[in-house]
């Protein structure tokens, strides 16, 4: 079996693992249900073995014992584990993810608020990563072994090796503090915070809907640094994968065929080779996008970015398990959703995968 077909097969298999064998819808739904059930069960169990008392988040350290006991009972924590889980699952099936102790809001409401923040950041970061990463990877591949290759490689590997929290702080120090190019932590200047009513929750879009260009540019100036820093990591990954896929494609016979036809090198690389590179690359981009969508906790902490990662982490450290479980469902859904999307794109890009 040739390398190329083997890789494609692997990629497809990967996509299929999530979406279930191309078969009955029922089967897909069933396997999704199992995955979600597993996710919830594992999260639930983690929550219950955490040596953190969930009641503390609700009543604080200094509540008298009787208040503590009553709240504990209200939270259902005195029931046997299986019963707690059963109650939780049956609520979830009815679309009720419960209330967060920390925010006093329904978990669904919280997620509607924090997920768009992460979505916006992840999407912009992935966009930058793709726009810069693919050309960089191609550029490296066609100059294999020469200095541009080394430069791209080292820059890429550096991206893999950089502690992100450190890079984030340095970024703030240089671009915000010293150079004054971008705005600081947060999604908007603090003063603007309640000028905007969330419609989509995506600040860049909401500000445009309001038609307030000052606010829009303010949002841009806030998102650009964290997005660029996250983009660096996805850029590193995408460039590196592009390079290696590209090298592999460039050694394929059809490239030779194209050369024999007298086609320009430009077209060979960008049309022929890249057309094939995109097939496995879609999975790579999807994976990196999914990772970002899960919320980059450290970046969110440093940039005071109220996203999903921060929300789950915070809830976890307070044993606010409804919030953690809800967040985990979102993460799982995102993971599965992005994989399905990449499966669809895969089929669009690779005629061999179409039926």
């Amino acid at each position: 079996m040739s390398a190329v077909t083997r890789k494609n097969r692997d990629g497809r298999k990967r996509a299929r693992l999530i979406s279930g064998k191309a078969g009955s819808l029922l089967r897909i739904v069933f396997s999704l249900a199992i995955t979600f059930f597993g996710l919830l069960l594992v999260t639930f169990l983690i929550g219950r073995v955490l040596p953190i008392d969930p009641v503390l988040a609700a009543v604080g350290d200094r509540a008298p014992q009787d208040v503590y006991d009553r709240v504990r009972e209200e939270m259902g924590l005195n029931l046997p584990l299986w019963q707690q889980f059963f109650i939780y699952i049956s609520n979830v099936v009815q679309g009720d993810f419960g209330q967060s102790v920390l925010t006093a809001n329904p978990v669904i409401e919280d997620i509607k608020r924090v997920f768009p923040a992460t979505l916006e950041l992840a999407t912009l970061a992935t966009f930058i990563g793709v726009v810069l990463g693919i050309p960089a990877g191609v550029f490296a591949a066609i100059n294999k072994g020469k200095w541009p290759d080394h430069v791209v490689r080292v820059i890429g590997l550096a991206g893999y090796s950089m502690p992100i929290f450190w890079l984030g702080l340095m970024g703030l120090l240089v671009f915000y503090m010293k150079l004054d190019w971008v705005a600081g932590p947060g999604r908007l200047d603090a003063f603007y915070i309640d000028f905007i009513e969330p419609t989509t929750g995506l600040m860049l879009i909401d500000t445009l809907i309001e038609g307030d260009m000052d606010l829009f540019w303010n949002a841009v100036s806030h998102i650009i640094l964290p997005a660029s820093i996250l983009a660096y990591f996805s850029l590193a990954y995408i460039a590196r994968m592009t390079r290696s896929f590209m090298l592999e494609q460039l050694s394929q016979e059809y490239i030779l065929t194209a050369r024999v036809k007298g086609i320009s090198e430009h077209r060979i690389i960008w049309r022929h080779a890249l057309g094939n590179v995109m097939v496995p690359l879609v999975t790579v981009i999807a994976l990196s996008y999914a990772n970002l969508l899960e919320g980059s906790v450290l970046t969110e902490i440093i940039f005071a970015w109220p996203g999903l990662g921060l929300y789950i982490t915070n809830s976890l450290l307070n044993a606010d398990m409804n919030a953690v479980l809800g967040g985990t469902v979102v993460v799982g859904a995102v993971f599965i959703g992005v994989n399905m999307l990449s499966d669809v794109l895969y089929r669009l890009l690779d005629p061999r995968a179409r039926r």
Binding site: S2, V4, Q252, E253, Y254, L256, T257, A258, R259, V260, K261, G262, I263, S264, E265, R267, R271, H272, G275, N276, V279, L349, D350, P351, R352
Partner: protein, 280 residues
Amino acid sequence: MSNDPLLNVKNLKVTFNTPKGEVNAVRGVSFSLGRERLGIVGESGSGKSQTGRAILGLTAANGRITADELKFHDVDLANLTPKQWRKVRGARISMIMQDPKYSLNPVMTIGDQIIEAYREHHKVNAREARHRAIDMLEAVKIRDPERVFNSYPHEVSGGMGQRVMIAMMLIPEPELIIADEPTSALDVTVQLQVMAILDDLVRDRGMALIFISHDLHLVSSFCDRVLVMYQGHVVEELAASALHEAKHPYTKGLLNCLPKMDGDQSDLPILEREASWAEG
């Protein structure tokens, strides 16, 4: 056999740098080619394919080509810029590759790939190009050219794929076609059909052909002249009609390798090799 020399090759050498050291794939091959059909025969590793690729300047990056002379008409193939090469490749010299499974771009439709080959060298509009491509698919005896035109390579059989390959390589009407094992990836039953199609087209359009193969008999039945290569050298050159006159023991060995249906040999002969043959 026409005598005006289309291609002149003198002392062609192809050397590769590998972790094991230098490997000499082609070690001084010389021949000249008119508007004829030349066969190059040898085992794998004999340098026959590298000879073909060297003519198109498509030796891999770690390889080096040297030659006393490497001329196509009056074009010095040894010293072409990438831009000049693109005027030669496809338009004047083309090559048919071994396995359509790998040599066709899997994510482009067959039609697009053929049109691309044509339009690279002919300034025509899209409709005209499409028209030509369909004609060409018909010319390689594809029954439903419209469907094949819109198909992807994986959707057609190996034999069909190779016909597509032929159509694609012949459509810009090159003067010289190099066919590198064009049928060895195909089922035996379709091998001859494909060869016949290629042969007809080459004949009709007055193209020259270099047919590279390991199969001496096949080569001899489609070619005028045969070069036998062994370890980068041409060990013997003979007219296709005079195979039986082969003198070199290697050539004889190749001939005997094929079991004859009417033969009375009880054992298959083993191909003999001697180090001295490689000295050239």
